[in-house]
């Protein structure tokens, strides 16, 4: 065998080779982990250093006397608290709205027969091909005409529908056996009670996966919130972070602390819902 050509064939030589190979593998794993984590690590370290020590040479890579005050300053004086609150409001409202509209439409496409159903579904699918960039100018004008500029409705209402959501729920609901619908009908269930008491409980994983997908998409929005917000009272955390990086340069530790604060909620979410997150992120890849 080509791979076994070199090295000793004695049991001791073979064991030594196995150990050596294992050490090499761990070294590679650790090195790559270092590359991936290094930017975040440096940011965290710099957040804990006194402002004037940031950028000192040789660089400080471990804060012996961490100063946690930068986080409090970032949260209050640099408005991260307000930005995070705004993002939470916008994201939760958007996800809730998308869940409601998508579950309802997905249910109708899976369980209710009505004229022009095929056309209606095709229209929902067609939205998947229209990116934000193709609609942004008229939507900006619409929002202005409605008097919503620099307000929460401007950040939420344009996104209450989700083509992917409609599609995912329709696919999932079609997997519910039709006999269940017949049985539920005999028990006097209307569509609404069948949906809430049978269909949704059966499809909790899909709801979770889509919910997380929608959450991440909404939380990470950048271009739209940038153009429709103007003051800190409605700015989302992504735009707030941009604001922080251009205005707070005399307090670098605060910028770094703010960056960590901005990333923290999603990190927590990642660790709490790792499995659902992976399923949500790969939903587009594995579903046909």
């Amino acid at each position: 065998m080509p791979t076994d050509g070199r090295g000793g064939r004695s049991p001791a030589g073979q064991r030594a080779r196995l150990v050596a190979r294992r050490v090499v593998r761990y070294l590679l794993l650790v090195a790559m982990a270092g590359v991936v984590l290094f930017p975040i690590y440096v940011t965290l370290v710099d957040a804990l250093l006194p402002s004037q020590k940031i950028g000192s040479r040789p660089p400080t890579l471990f804060p012996l006397h961490p100063l946690w005050g930068s986080f409090a300053t970032a949260f209050s004086e640099a408005h991260l608290g307000i930005y995070l609150r705004n993002s939470a409001i916008v994201t939760l409202a958007t996800v809730a709205a998308q869940l409601i509209t998508s579950v309802l439409a997905g249910y109708a496409f899976a369980f209710v027969r009505f004229p022009l159903r095929g056309l209606a579904f095709a229209l929902c699918l067609a939205t998947l091909m229209v990116p934000l960039e193709a609609t942004i100018i008229p939507n900006y004008r619409t929002v202005q005409a409605l008097g919503w500029y620099n307000s929460f409705p401007a950040l939420i209402v344009p996104f209450v529908g989700s083509g992917i959501g409609v599609f995912l729920f329709r696919q999932a609901f079609r997997g519910v056996p039709p006999e269940l619908r017949d049985a539920a009908k005999l028990d006097g269930y209307g569509h609404m009670s069948f949906l809430t008491r049978v269909v949704l409980p059966l499809n909790r994983p899909v709801v979770a996966a889509f919910g997380i997908y929608a959450f991440l998409t909404s939380w990470n929005q950048y271009l739209w919130p940038l153009i429709v917000t103007q003051t800190n009272s409605v700015r989302t955390v992504q735009i707030g972070l941009r604001q922080l990086s251009v205005t707070q340069f005399n307090r670098l530790d605060v910028v770094f602390a703010g960056t960590i604060l901005a990333a923290l909620p999603i990190f927590v979410l990642l660790f709490a819902f790792q499995k659902q997150l992976v399923r949500g992120l790969t939903a587009g890849a594995v579903k046909g």
Binding site: D46, T101, V130, F159, L223
Partner: protein, 288 residues
Amino acid sequence: MREAGAGYLFVLPALVAFGVFVFYPLVKTAYLGFFTSPPAPNLPAHYVGVSQYSSVLRSSEFRDDLWRSVQFVLYTVPAGIVLGIALAVLANQRLAGIRIFRTVYSSTVATSTAVASVVFLTLLNPQIGLLNYWLGRQGGAGLLQSSSLALPAVSVVTIWQNIGFTFILMSAALQAVPDDLLEAARVDGASSWFRFRHVTIPLLSPMIFFAVIVGTIAGFQAFGQIDILTQGGPNNHTLVLIYDLYQQAFQYDNFGSAAVLSVSLFVILLVLTFAQFWYFQRRVFYAN
């Protein structure tokens, strides 16, 4: 009929949202391309027909925008996928503690574009940036201020931010590779590189294709990193199509030519999306 009524009622919220914020603005964007923007606000726009389309699309500015967007895709997509596969292979071993490494490698999905960009904005800062220091450029011109290196630097930030997502995709595909297939190749005397090249890679090819399309679409839509790191500079060297669109529309009030750019971006993304749909229709798995 009551049944049909319920169906319409259920799909109505989604369809109304799509009508107002997707279909109407899509048509309106194409329509706005027929008008040049007035020299001052509140003056009527001037109808010029298709001439604005042809003049914008034939301009050297548009060609340069497009080329920079293509370059950005070429810098980010192949490198990102190679890195994602490397990490997925590395983390696909049966070793103690491997779960920690898997979590670390997927961790950058928790960073938004704004977080990643602000982190690297400081790492690349000419005075205090660690990366600048390690590259021996301390005090000299920053990478982001260099006409030849700004776009590659923005690309590196993007690759780093996407590592987690690509890793998750490639890991999911890798775990679906049947062990006995690799075992059979091993028994047949195939070297580990041969097994990787002729068994693993072909089995990963569907996911690689998916990642290429998704990465290319995301590459054309990449906005936040440009906005935070370079604002299209220095000297337009990072002025990609979408950033030009943003500046024309929301900084220069040039809605007419911005609409043309919007339509062109829409067509590009539409072709890419169709490529993706076509692929999932055919599902040519395990080719090669």
